[in-house]
Each structure stands twice: as C-alpha cells, then as structure tokens.
C-alpha cells in the first residue's frame, strides 16, 4: 500500500529519534514562529512539557516533524513525599506518546506538597528516607513513560544539616536503585558551589567521581545572575537569563574531556535574546565538545 503525504499514515506518531551528540537549544514561545518558518534552526530542541499540555502541542508537533525533541519537565516533583501526581504524569505520558521525545528529564527536587504546587525546584536533604522517596517516584514515572528518565542536579541555595550523602553519592545511588540516568547541569554546579561554599571544579569532580559516566545522558549550559545582599553577601541565582559565563564553559570542557560528548542544551528562560544569540552559544558548545571529545578519545 502506497502512502501519500495526505494519507492518515503520514500523520501517524513520529518515530523516536535519539538526541544527537550536539548542542541543542531550549525552545521558548518567543522563538516559535522563527523555528516554524525555518529561519531558526538547531540540531535538536528541548521544551518544558508543562507548557505544551494544551493546544500548544500543535506547535510542538510541527517542530518535532523536522527535529528531535527532548522533554525537560519541571513539575513531576520527584522528591515529593506524597508521590507523583498521577493526573499530571498521565498528561506528560500522553504528550510523550504524541511527540516521541529523544529524552525525558526532571530534577532532583520537589515542588508539590499537600496538593499545592510551588513552581520552583525545592531542595531535599540527601538521606536514606529521601532516597527511598525518589526511587519510588522515579520508578513510577519510568513505569508510566515506559522508558528511563534523566534526573538533573538542581541549583542549591540551602544545605540541610542532616544530609548524610553528597549530591553525587545520592544521584549515583538513585541511578543504581532506579535505572534512571543523570542530566548534568554544569551551571547548577557553579551556582551551588558558590552558594553553599566550595570550589565549582571540586564539586563537579566529586559528582563525576560518583556518578558513572555512562549514566550521564545530557548536559545543560546556562547563565546565572549574581546578586549582592544588603550585608555584602553574594548569592548566585539560577535564572537562565544571561550568557553562559566563562566558569561554566570551563566546567563544560572539563566534563566533556572526562566523559566524552553528550547532547548539550543551551538553556534560557528569562530575558530571552534573539535566536541568533542562542545559536552562537550552541556553536561554541559544539566547538568545545569536538575538542573535548578528541581529548577524551585520546585518553
């Protein structure tokens, strides 16, 4: 049976396409039109699925027709004691079935308690109890989505006194328990190191010492704000609203040299610049990735 462009089969679900080992761009609403008309291009795009759980999915389907897409969730609340919101998970699963994304991810954080959703990535203490909660919730999400997900190290502003594990140890244990992967956000490493005290390079090395390289399925790059409090204390805020800084580029090079090339995302969420600025950062990431991969292969 032949298939014409207008036959129902031509509009069937897309075949899953892996995310390439190249830099992709976080797609946000201001760039929809430029992407849809072909003016703005990237090797792949990543979106927050929570923004496409209504008619906006029609736009995402058109984007997906031309490029691989990754879904980076912010609302599954994998660290919620009360478990994952089944209705929300079901909506994400429906979207994933329509889009067939190359990757799906969320964060090592929580945002839902007592039926209230706090739109933020809130911190958890790294304890055995919390590890049990994450393992249970990640298992549930992976069972419904029928695939492993990636869990991202978030930016931290607070450190719990009773954390029994470092972040890397906790993530490694979660990988071992649930079979999930890790999304390594090197900007978050820099933000957390500054806010909690410590050197970013040391924090990155500690994380990569613990998490198996094979488990790291994606890298995020972004900028962050630096604010000075009234008492002179500096706080770094993970607002994804400025160019990627030199420290983050350096951490990225270190990571690639150690683990090799990975799908790498340029992520902006505030003060979103023209697409060309994002494309330049993606090109920079591709250059560094090629050099880092060469070093990694030689080593």
């Amino acid at each position: 049976m032949s298939r014409t462009p207008d036959s129902p089969a031509a509009h069937a679900r897309p075949v899953p396409v892996p995310i390439p080992l190249q830099a992709g761009i976080g797609l946000r609403f201001p760039h929809h039109q430029a992407v849809l008309c072909g003016e703005a291009k990237a090797a792949w795009f990543e979106v927050h699925p929570e923004n496409y759980l209504d008619a906006a999915v029609e736009v995402l389907e058109r984007v997906r027709a031309d490029r691989p897409v990754s879904l980076h969730a912010t609302g599954l609340s994998l660290g919620s004691f009360e478990g994952v919101d089944e209705d929300h998970l079901s909506r994400i699963a429906d979207l994933a079935a329509r889009i067939e994304p190359g990757l799906i991810s969320d964060h090592l954080s929580w945002s839902v308690t007592g039926g209230t959703y706090l739109p933020d990535l809130l911190p958890v203490p790294c304890t055995d109890e919390v590890l049990d909660v994450f393992a249970r919730n990640v298992d549930r999400v992976q069972a419904v989505l029928k695939r492993p997900i990636l869990v991202e190290n978030p930016s931290a502003y607070l450190a719990y006194a009773d954390s029994a594990m470092e972040e890397g140890e906790f993530l490694a244990a979660l990988v071992a328990r649930s079979g999930c992967g890790v999304l390594l956000d090197v900007n978050n490493v820099a933000v957390s190191a500054a806010n909690l005290g410590g050197d970013a390079g040391t924090r990155l090395a500690a994380l990569m010492d613990r998490v198996p390289a094979a488990a790291i399925g994606e890298i995020h790059l972004a900028g962050h704000a630096v604010r000075t409090l009234e008492d002179g204390t500096m706080v770094r805020i993970d607002d994804h609203g400025s160019p990627i800084g030199a420290e983050v580029w350096s951490l990225f090079e270190t990571a690639i040299r150690r683990i090799g090339a990975r799908p790498t995302l340029i992520e902006w969420d505030t003060a979103i610049p023209p697409f060309a600025a994002l494309a330049r950062e993606a090109a920079m990431a591709d250059l560094l990735m090629a050099a880092g991969e060469e070093h990694h292969a030689a080593a």
């Binding site: 609302g75 007592g114 959703y117 809130l122 607070l158 006194a161 009773d162 954390s163």
Partner: protein
Amino acid sequence: MRLHELQHAFARAVLTGEGLPPVFRAGPVPVEAALRVHRNTVLGAGVNALRLSCPTVDRLVGEAFFDQAAAAFVRSSPPRVARLSAYGEGFAEFLASHAPAAVLPYLPDVARLDLAMDQAVRSPQGERRFVLEAGVTLALPAGLTALWLDYPADRIRNALEAGDDAALAAIDLTPRPRPLLVWRSGEASAIAAVSAPAAAFAGALMAGGAADAALTAAIFHAEPEEALAAIQGEIFGGAFCRILKGEQT
C-alpha cells in the same frame, strides 16, 4: 524532621514568610536570604502566569498594582497543579474582595473575560456536535464558553487593545447583564456579545445538556418566541456555528 513535615513547613515558609525549623547548615548565603530566593521564584512564577492570562487586567491597573494583587492571590490560592497555563481559577473572585481594587468594580469581570479568552485559545481544535432533531446537528467550537458578566469587559478589552482612550472613556460602566460567548478561532480567541437566551442555550449545551434542556434554559430568560428567535439568529446564525443536515451529520 521527617520529609512530609519538612515539605509542609517549607511550603508554609515560602508562601507565608513563616520561619523554618533549624534544619539547615550555615553557609555563605544566610538561610532567610536563600528562602527569599525560593519565595521570589514561586511568587514570581505565579504572578507571571496570571499576567500572561490576564493582559487586560494588567493594562488597566498597571504593573505595580498587578504584581501586588497577583502575589497576594498566589499566597492565598497557590497553584494546585504543575500547569501554570491553567492557573487563575478564583482570581476574579479574589479581585472582587481585594480592598485596593474596590474602586474598580468591573475589574473582576475583566479578569473573567481575560481568563476565558486565554483558556479558549488553549482549547483543542475541533467541534462538539449536538443533535437538535433527526437529521439536524449543531456543531459548536470545542472550547466555546458562555460568560455571564455585569460589566462590558469586552468593550474595555477592545478599547485597550486598540489604544483608544476616547472609546475607553465613553464606555458606560453602569452594571447590567452582559452575556458573552468566547471561543477559539484559528490561533486566537473570539468574543460575541449575545442575548441571555442565546448564552443560556449555548452554555447548557456545552455543559452537557440535551437540546431540550438547553431550550428550557433559554426560555427561562425570555418568552419562547423571543428565545427561539435569539437562538436562531445568534447561535445558528453565529460565525462559530455550523448546522449539519442529512448525511453531513
């Protein structure tokens, strides 16, 4: 402290400013300052979601007033689900009881219209079909909503969108029933001011009522002949409506 207690306490601290138990290690950033970062993120995301779905309210009251009112709403009625595009239920009622907004009695209706238009444009393409009689089916947009307002929020919105200060100043703000229909039209949403019988008929159908029940709802607002004429002219003759006959059904 167990995780569920910690998460409840954290949520209270973020939303109300209430202090947290001493569960954090001292670090370069003071705990209260770190909590403020989370509070700003949570409130900012909620306020921004409301600003996107209520652009007319935002234009009417200005950024500073909107920020203050919306943040108060987020604190009292935080989102329930991780879909901020669906957030805003209760915002109009909140504005109606928000003392600083009392001088703008039409503001809640403006919010109702903004939210309805935002939801309409997010509704799926497609139609809902209702059998009127054998061989005759009415097709309405899947996201059609009937709104029962007391102020001409549609005229306020149109004047603001057009930047027409003269038209805005000329709007009669005497409260009187202002039924509207809102639906998705292509990539935008559309509004039509209709009579009460027409709004009641469409609203009853979209709420799941049968044609007979919808007609009864319409007749509640007018004499039967007048109600039927309104339905005929404003619904069947509406740009959003299709009548399917015979094999089309």
